[in-house]
Symmetry: D2
Subunit: 138 residues, 4 copies
């Protein structure tokens, strides 16, 4: 499944080069994966109420084209892989069909004492729903 | 006492007009008052460890001239007044002697249950140290 | 006319008090007034292409209740008054019917040389559409 | 050469997990490399006045330990490699001797028309000054 959401670029996100400042894409990734998990039936707020925290252990972004003020962007997210204690989520940022940026975050599964812990089964079921369709991962 | 600190404007703070985005001045005010309190011997982290939280109940900023990328700004802060449950702090943002913006925040004194509570005496003593010198408040 | 839009609070907007950081409300105001102007037929991008820039000359926010992570907020905006060279826009931030914060910005009308200039007639017409209905301004 | 600068974490940078929000590290990287280039005699503002723009083409960060409110951080930056059209800059974020996060950005060299262009010789000289000492790159 790919999850897609729309986002309008405010002035706040731009910099003096006239384009979206590069760190903001990591905020975009957060918005994308949050809505993906919500859509799959697994909102972050529920994870946290069940004692699971998912801090980011790695983030990466490659920038191909600039997003600009007032652009209506698409954030397309999917789970690219997961292990017993980790989930890797990819997000692509597009304007119409043009790919502007693409990246991923790796989330670690930890409990309230910040110890690495196993993904509970109810979460792996939801992750399965968010995996990219076979042969379609970019 | 006026407390002054320096701050270098990063790309992150600018917008496509080529100037510092207006919401960032409220972040500047936070940096200014935090260092003022630290300098007076009353770091926020100590307030919070003593069970005092100081949420902002009002913020105001007037903008006179633009700050730009790479400017070395001065944040000048002082307590303009305080009551039994509230502190009003002014901050001016300058580049050299030019006033760029000026504003204030009103902080409410609340306890861990978010009930309004009286400023403890050790805090009012520190507030006195941060009052602007007689006749010099702008 | 009141213009209302929805906004979901990301992790990025919160601070360690567990609530939305106070400077972010000024970003919310920007999102609110941008969509209001677009809805009225006057997108910012058109203003700028016609040589009109609207820098903020004053911003104010009063905070009544906290917004939290994952809240679905409503931003309600309207023009409260305008003169020949200035527009005052109010925005209220609500969660369901609860007013969380309320504030305004004053925009100055300047041309490309940053000289104060008169609001063109096509803009005052749009401002009229965004005025709060008689007797309903809060 | 390693370039080191200090930075105090404001409330603005934290999120409701009580730690610095992950996207802010990319802002930290920007502050680190800007001061490194300034220290080497090559401020960004000069690059831009000479018609060179250095947009980020890739960013990466790995997170090992959390930074918290009021931490006094160290940003340690160096050029890890450069080619005719690209510079790779690493930044480490430390609290005292503890490594909190580590990452890099790749900057592309483009001219005012956003065409990839060769690094001018005066820039490669400065890059040489910022290379990590032999055998010490982490």
């Amino acid at each position: 499944m790919y999850y897609e959401m729309k986002y309008r670029v405010p002035y706040a996100d731009t910099d003096q080069m006239g384009v979206v400042y590069y760190a903001n894409y990591l905020e975009y990734f957060e918005r994308g994966r949050t809505e993906m998990f919500r859509d799959a039936g697994m909102p972050y707020s529920r994870m946290e109420s069940e004692g699971i925290i998912m801090p980011v252990s790695e983030a990466n972004c490659r920038y191909f084209n600039s997003a600009r003020y007032d652009d209506l962007l698409t954030f397309r997210s999917y789970v690219s892989e997961y292990s017993r204690v980790r989930i890797k989520i990819c997000t692509e940022v597009l304007r119409d069909d043009l790919l502007l940026a693409s990246g991923y975050v790796v989330l670690a599964c930890v409990n309230r004492e910040f110890k690495v812990t196993r993904l509970p089964q109810w979460m792996t079921r939801f992750c399965d729903k968010c995996l990219a369709p076979e042969g379609e991962t970019k």
